[in-house]
């Protein structure tokens, strides 16, 4: 059907102005679609990237987030002694007792106070979380008021650059290192020694313990052992699952919002495409009659016009994707209501998202072209031939 392809393509181009405007309408919708879903995607990736398949996080039973959990010191020792916990080169268990509190720091962008997470970590925290790398300075020294700050936090909140003195909990803490974590949520955090954090914030226990398991498959027995011990009213989760759950509400809200807006906008664009296709059919009525007189069936006519509108829409889709692409990697942030802490993340456009955008464009084209195409095929041949 090479000729028919030429016919469709060339017919589209005859009325360049109209085709361009219709394509642009669709492009805008696809751009909005891709951009809003890129927000959800970026947010989710940041949170989920925080989790490693080989790690497990232990919280109080029933705690939905770290800040409403507590784990006693005695429980830490019990957890560390379990055989499923991996050991470091020095034979010590790879476990990090942690505590997260929120402090208020002004945002660089608008000076408004932001809820910045401060995470007290155990001395082996960086071994438990291997994806963390230092880009400036060095890890904090346990027992001192040295702190490390995630790179995204440095870019988002005031006063936490390397060498800064940060004041919170009535004490001064010094930033001695900046780390990256592959865009994980940790990059929005400030890390310090948990043993100093606990008294500084008038707490009396840890909130969680994160351990590195000997092997990802050790999780089930780890879970079973903890469940079986009456001294531990705790619940372990795979780190990945924990963070997936932490991001669930916000991701859903963003996605629902994005989809809602996009669908409504799409209906408008589809109406525009319909208008264009109806006009094209009206303009080419005699042509359609000729094709049918030559023996092209009604189905072929419908397909031809559908192909035209879908192709036009796909052109718009490509333009829309190109319009959206610049936001990829753009930093932004929001407060994760589940943990009440601010998370910096980046817009994230994936090939799958672009594919979805194109598919969406094609669907809009099909929807807009269907009725006009059917109308085109149903005009009685003799009447069509009489049109000017």
């Amino acid at each position: 059907m090479g000729l028919i392809r030429n016919y469709n393509l060339r017919s589209m181009v005859v009325r360049k102005g109209t085709a361009a405007m219709t394509a642009m309408g669709i492009a805008m919708v696809v751009a909005v679609f891709v951009m809003t879903l890129a927000i959800a995607q970026g947010f989710q990736k940041t949170l989920v990237a925080s989790g490693s398949r080989q790690n497990a996080i232990v919280l109080r039973k029933g705690a939905t987030a770290e800040n409403v959990s507590n784990v006693a010191r005695s429980q830490l020792q019990l957890i560390e002694s379990l055989p499923q916990v991996a050991r470091g080169a020095d034979g010590q268990p790879l476990a990090s007792p942690e505590l997260v509190v929120i402090i208020s720091l002004p945002r660089i962008s608008n000076n408004d106070p932001a809820n910045v997470p401060v995470r007290g970590v155990g001395p082996r925290a960086f071994q438990v979380r291997e994806s963390l790398k230092f880009v400036e300075g060095r890890p904090l020294t346990p027992g001192t008021r040295e702190i490390n700050v995630g790179r995204l936090a440095v870019g988002r909140f005031q006063g936490v650059t390397l060498g800064s003195d940060v004041r919170f909990a009535s004490q001064i803490w010094k930033v001695v290192g900046i780390f990256t974590a592959d865009d994980a949520a940790f990059e929005s955090e400030v890390w310090g020694d948990v043993e100093l954090m606990i008294p500084a914030f008038q707490r009396n226990s840890y909130q969680s313990v994160t351990v590195k398991l000997t092997d990802p498959s050790a999780f089930e027995s780890f879970e079973a052992t903890i469940a079986g011990d009456p001294r531990l009213d705790l619940r372990p989760q795979r780190e990945i699952d924990f963070y997936a759950e932490q991001s669930r509400v916000m991701t859903t809200v963003i996605r629902v919002f994005g989809t809602f807006v996009t669908i409504i906008l799409a209906v408008g664009a589809v109406f525009g495409a319909m208008n264009t296709m109806y006009a094209a059919v009206a303009y080419r009525t005699r042509e359609i009659g000729t094709l049918r007189a030559l023996g092209f069936s009604r189905v072929k006519i419908v397909v031809a016009f559908l192909v035209e509108s879908v192709t036009l829409a796909l052109v718009g889709g490509v333009v829309g994707c190109l319009l959206a692409l610049p936001v990829h990697g753009l930093s932004t942030g929001t407060t994760n209501m589940t943990s009440f802490s601010e998370v910096a993340f980046k817009f994230r456009i994936t090939p799958a998202l672009l594919g979805a955008g194109l598919l969406f464009a094609a669907l809009m084209g099909a929807a807009g072209g269907l009725l006009p195409a059917i109308g085109a095929a149903r005009i009685p041949i003799a009447r069509a031939l009489r049109e000017i």
């Binding site: 059907m1 028919i4 016919y7 005699r286 030559l294 023996g295 009685p380 003799a382």
Partner: protein, 231 residues
């Protein structure tokens, strides 16, 4: 047996509640190899008759047989396929697709067959050579004169080697010289290539080229006897 047989063909159009009769119980036979002229005043129904023959319209009553097929009883979809195979149509306004070249226009009906690309090309070039436009394959309709356009349309009509050629006022929009060329071509198709042609016209010059002429007036054949035309 005649190639074409119309039996008591009637066609009425309905506009709202008013019925407009166009053809009234027309019966006609056309032999194979015949070049029939269909004449009559404006509104006599001759174009409608042609449309019915081509299968692009359906009779309200009566039957139409072309070759072995009762076209009046075929479904819309079957008619489309039948038309592609058996009919070559030549329009007054040429009806070439503006966005396709002359070559592509002529190739159009062949897309409905299962011929290969090379085979199609051969057929197209043959058809264009017959009409004398082998050197204008890449031209678009807007780059051709009226006469040339009509000749491309004729090439398109014969490229599938159809059973029947139907021409609706083929010279209606042409100047005298082009008209003469086109009519000569049609005559050649009939005498040399043995094509059966039914041509609607109100131009006496055109009618002269036909081998037989029938007259339609207000939807009926005025004379059931065909007039022999002196060539």
């Amino acid at each position: 047996m005649a190639l074409i047989e119309l039996r008591d063909v009637t066609k009425t159009y309905r506009r709202d509640t008013i019925e407009i009769p166009v053809l009234d119980s027309v019966s006609l036979s056309v032999a194979e190899g015949d070049f029939l002229g269909l004449m009559g005043p404006s509104g006599s129904g001759k174009s409608t008759l042609l449309n019915l023959l081509a299968g692009i319209d359906r009779p309200t009553r009566g039957s139409i047989r072309v070759g072995d097929t009762e076209t009046s009883s075929l479904s819309e979809h079957a008619l489309a396929g039948w038309r592609a195979r058996h009919i070559g149509f030549i329009f007054q306004l040429y009806n070439l697709i503006p966005v396709l070249t002359a070559f592509e226009n002529v190739e159009l009906p062949l897309l409905l067959t299962s011929l290969s690309r090379k085979q199609r090309r051969d057929h197209v070039m043959t058809a264009l050579d017959i009409v004398g436009l082998g050197d204008r394959t890449k031209h678009y309709p807007r780059q051709l004169s009226g006469g040339q356009e009509q000749r491309v349309a004729i090439a398109r009509a014969v490229v599938t080697d159809p059973t029947l050629l139907l021409a609706d006022e083929p010279t209606g929009d042409l100047d005298a010289k082009s008209a003469a060329e086109v009519l000569l071509l049609l005559q050649r198709l009939n005498t040399e290539f043995k094509k059966t042609i039914v041509m609607v016209t109100h131009d006496p010059h055109a009618a002269e080229r036909a081998s037989h002429v029938v007259l339609l007036e207000k939807g009926t054949l005025v004379e059931s006897e065909k007039l022999e035309v002196q060539s």
